[in-house]
């Protein structure tokens, strides 16, 4: 491509120990100075492996065999272990928390420089510069444990940046963040690329967040097929995985494909007109409230008549002296899919915890299917309410999938084979003698969900289920949850994923500081919010007429009906 490659892969293949086939195969690729390269692809296609070859973690740290050659700034990673590349490559892993070494922000920023033996006065200066560059100056003496998700990610980036690397490698930097914090982090990354000329290689599942910032997209299709590399618009036009705005472009026939909401809005006038002409919204028309700030006193009317499965009345939950949930009252009805949204730390997980009886309410009353969930034990609990926690691997305790299913049947007093049957439905290709830890993220989630569903609880909660899931697995999860919904369960999903909410939820509840600030039908709550609106709604809304279409599918349907 260009004369000036910072990273060069020369016919690189990586095979891990005891793996039947290489994880990545025959990669020839160059990344040039000052580029922001986005690596995309389904889970298991080797994104993390590719990223880790850049600083030599593969194979020096992970083991396995690397054929071919990786050159970073002229250094061969075969002869340079990660520590000898620390001054050239800054690598931030998926969960920055697991990589923190020191106590406070300032010390963490200095740590890499200390390892490199940089002179004290230079260190002092660079720490100050980095604090300003990443907007961390107010947090300099804050203990690392007290940072929010977005701050944590920025500290992790800063801590490798102080070594003035030429390349920054970020593995899924925004997948655990709420939309606001994700925008913060991405803005920071973009600033580094523009102002400092740092080369950034970034892997991410949440394409809708990052693709507009990328200079080049590297698509890893998996299964040994070769890479597709090119300009974002060009790659996204044909990629099997695409953010909603790109799928909308395909439906509307826009070319070149717009990658950001802004670009799409500029060409969307025609589509808007066609849609308004058709004007048959996909969902049964719901009266849009004059303002979206519905209060708990006026619950959404759409689920009147359905059976109430769970009730919270004025519930307060405190962790020590901090109040995580303060005075929440709500009802959950059969056939509902409720999305619980709000920034990190707004109390979403705690609210779910109170619903399943994990946290005691210090005031108020929780009732699930007629009983207090804290009193429930054993199979009674399993048959009343289920929760797939954020760390869903915690639910899995046995060493094979078959044993796990067997145990789940026993725990729920279900017919032998129930869980296995559910699992076969969710993820047909799981080997029953596989170890749960060896499964892919999506398969493991399916197993955890099957375990929870074995008791057929009327109330099913999921905490951040789409973190780290690719589009395919997410589609499958959505169709499974829709089916469960039609069987008369209520599903509560705590999530940051606005696109998931647009596809799935019938009702959205937004939390802030432990209180419900909005509660109503998805369309009504989501469209008017700058942070929680899905891309399609952002493209199609005008100040005069808020859009009623939230997903590309809905748009396609509306257009289909019209023609």
């Amino acid at each position: 491509m260009n004369a000036n490659p910072v990273i060069r892969w020369e016919s690189v293949s990586v095979t891990y120990h005891e793996a039947a086939k290489p994880t990545i195969e025959n990669i020839d690729l160059e990344i040039t100075e000052g580029e922001l390269a986005l690596v995309i692809g389904p889970t298991g296609s080797g994104k993390s492996t590719l990223l880790r070859t850049i600083n030599g973690l593969v194979p020096h740290f992970t083991g396995g065999t690397l054929h071919g050659r990786v050159l970073v700034d002229g250094r061969d990673t075969a002869t340079h272990p990660p520590r000898e590349l620390a001054d050239v490559v800054g690598y931030v892993a998926q969960d920055p928390r697991s990589g923190f070494v020191t106590d406070t922000v300032e010390e963490e920023l200095a740590y890499t420089m200390e390892s490199l033996g940089i002179a004290p006065d230079a260190m002092r200066r660079r720490v100050e510069e980095t604090l300003d560059l990443l907007g961390l100056a107010d947090l300099r003496s804050r203990p690392l444990g007290m940072l929010s998700g977005g701050q944590r990610q920025r500290v992790a980036i800063g801590s490798v940046l102080t070594a003035t690397p030429r390349v920054l490698v970020l593995d899924e930097p925004t997948s655990a963040l709420d939309p606001g914090a994700a925008e913060d982090v991405l803005a920071t990354v973009q600033r580094l690329v523009h102002d400092l000329g740092i080369t950034v290689v970034l892997a991410e599942h949440r394409l809708e967040r990052v693709v507009e910032y990328a200079d080049r997209v590297i698509l890893m299709p998996g299964d040994g097929r070769s890479l597709i590399v090119g300009e974002p618009a060009e790659v996204m036009g044909a990629a099997p995985i695409a953010p909603p705005v790109v799928r909308l472009a395909r439906i509307a026939g826009w070319s070149p494909v717009p990658l950001s909401v802004r670009d799409a809005r500029r060409v969307a006038g025609d589509l808007r007109a066609r849609l308004h002409a058709a004007d048959t919204p996909p969902n049964p028309p719901e009266p849009l409230p004059p303002d979206a700030d519905r209060t708990i006193d006026a619950p959404a009317a759409c689920h009147a008549g359905d059976t109430v499965l769970a009730t919270m009345r004025d519930v307060v939950v405190a962790h020590g002296s901090t109040i995580a949930v303060s005075g929440v009252s709500w009802q959950l009805h059969a056939h509902e899919v409720v999305a619980l949204m709000g920034r990190n730390g707004a109390g979403k997980s705690t609210l779910l915890g109170a619903l399943v009886g994990m946290h005691a309410a210090s005031r108020g009353q929780v009732t699930v299917a007629g009983s207090d969930p804290r009193q429930l034990r054993g199979s009674q609990l399993v048959r009343t309410i289920g929760l797939v926690p954020q760390e869903f691997t915690d639910l899995l305790t046995r060493s094979t999938v078959a044993q796990e299913c067997h145990d789940a049947d026993r725990d729920a007093h279900a017919q032998p084979g129930t869980t296995a049957a559910i699992l076969a439905d969710l993820a047909p290709d799981i080997a029953s003698d596989a170890h749960p830890r060896d499964l892919s993220e999506g398969q493991r989630l399916s197993l955890a969900l099957a375990v929870v569903l074995s008791g057929r609880p009327p109330v099913i909660c999921l905490d951040e289920p789409t973190r780290g899931l690719d589009y395919d697995t997410k589609e499958r999860l959505i169709s499974i949850l829709r089916r469960i919904q039609t069987e008369g369960h209520v599903i509560v999903v705590a999530t940051h994923d606005v696109e998931l909410v647009a596809e799935l939820a019938t009702r959205v509840v937004i939390l802030a500081d432990g209180q419900i600030v909005a509660d109503g039908p998805t369309t009504a709550v989501v469209v008017s919010s700058p942070l929680f609106a899905p891309q399609v709604a952002k493209v199609l809304s005008t100040p005069a007429a808020p859009a009623r279409w939230l997903t590309p599918f809905a748009v396609a349907q509306a257009l289909g009906d019209a023609s």
């Binding site: 800054g90 892993a93 070494v101 010390e107 490798v160 994990m358 289920g386 926690p389």
Partner: protein
């Protein structure tokens, strides 16, 4: 936290504002260990109580608001538990002293293998008193360690460790910080077990939770190791074969000399001076060895804590009570140990109290810790 209030209260002479900075952690540790040495030389409950009071006063005046700043109270609680355990053991297993029999426990006859151990029997007031004094001494030593721990973070102490020992030190600090994380993990795993309808309490609950928690810890340490490796941890400067051999030889030699020296010191038949000479030369050799080995690590330090006047005052004010207590007990000044048979009201030896008063100095002469209150 409460620190600002205390300072304004104790320093009425409004001197020019002092720059806030961390006191060298080594100074705090020397100060605390001096108090601990003093505690080890007495069973006088009044003196022990005074030592804890001095430590507590300085801790509350100068501790930072970071999480480790709050550990002092935990050490006090632990000390109280130790006193209780010590007294219970004394009641069950102790040999009766004195004549004030309080009550009689049924005796248990043990097999011959345990000859010399008696369980139960007469329990005297003197015996309980002796046990309590002994427990208090242990608890006081523990409180001194707790004071050092809350005044100086383990990680900051690490920053002052010589380069050669740095890598071993990191392992220790990480092990220390992993403990609280394990508790969080355990909570999460137990919640997950409950969700699956499994018992969380009792033997089965513990057995079922242990494995996932350990797995999680292992996974996390692998992540941390990868992160540290990518951030340059363990870089080695070029070094010749000769240098490597030299550092190994000096360290081995110092260890040998040190061991023989300790033996000579403890063996009454060997002249004291031989032992002392061996120990000192072993120590010198160790310092040289560590220096040579440290040269291979290219690390530098970010804002190392300086060693200035406050550090000198802090360290020596901790050594003062140690010296006073040792002197007092060598001179057999009455009141250093409190007789229990017959029980007496403890005295207050002036020399010991004076030594302790000096240890209060750091509460005024050291700068405030610089951490601002988060949020």
């Amino acid at each position: 936290m409460t620190t600002t209030g205390t300072t304004t209260a104790v320093s009425p002479t409004a001197a020019p504002p002092r720059i806030e900075r961390w006191v060298h952690p080594g100074a705090w540790w020397i100060w605390a260990l001096g108090l601990a040495v003093a505690a080890s030389r007495t069973t006088n409950p009044l003196l022990l109580g005074l030592i804890v009071a001095v430590a507590a006063y300085v801790v509350f005046a100068r501790r930072p608001s970071a999480p480790w700043g709050r550990t002092f109270t935990a050490f006090l609680v632990l000390g109280a538990i130790i006193i209780a355990i010590r007294v219970v053991f004394q009641i069950l297993l102790g040999v009766p002293v004195g004549s004030t029999v309080l009550f009689v426990l049924p005796t248990i006859d043990l097999p011959d293998a345990f000859a010399g151990v008696s369980v139960g029997g007469e329990v005297t007031g003197e015996e309980i008193l002796a046990g309590a004094y002994d427990g208090m001494r242990l608890a006081t030593i523990l409180a001194c360690v707790g004071a050092a721990n809350s005044l100086a973070s383990p990680a900051r102490l690490l920053a002052s460790v010589p380069g050669a020992l740095y890598e071993a030190g990191v392992a220790v600090v990480i092990a220390v910080t992993f403990a609280p994380q394990l508790i969080t993990d355990l909570r999460r795993v137990r919640a997950a077990r409950r969700l699956r309808g499994r018992p969380v309490r009792g033997l089965r609950g513990i057995a079922g939770s242990a494995l996932p928690v350990l797995e999680g810890a292992l996974e996390r340490s692998v992540h941390l190791a990868a992160a540290m490796d990518s951030r340059g941890y363990g870089r080695v400067a070029d070094r010749t074969q000769r240098q490597r051999r030299l550092s190994a030889a000096t360290l081995l030699g110092s260890l040998t000399l040190g061991l023989i020296g300790v033996y000579a010191m403890l063996d009454a038949s060997a002249p004291m001076i031989v032992g002392a000479v061996l120990l000192v030369s072993g120590g010198t050799l160790a310092i040289i060895g560590v220096r040579i080995a440290g040269a291979r690590s290219p690390r530098s330090r970010y804002r190392p804590d300086p060693w200035r006047l406050p550090e000198w005052v802090t360290a020596s004010s901790g050594l003062a009570p140690a010296a006073a207590f040792i002197a007092a007990s060598v001179l057999t000044i009455p009141g250093m140990s409190t007789p229990v048979d017959p029980a007496q009201w403890p005295q207050l030896p002036i020399i010991a109290v004076a030594g302790l008063a000096i240890a209060l100095l750091p509460a005024w002469v050291t700068p405030q810790p610089p951490d601002r209150q988060p949020r």
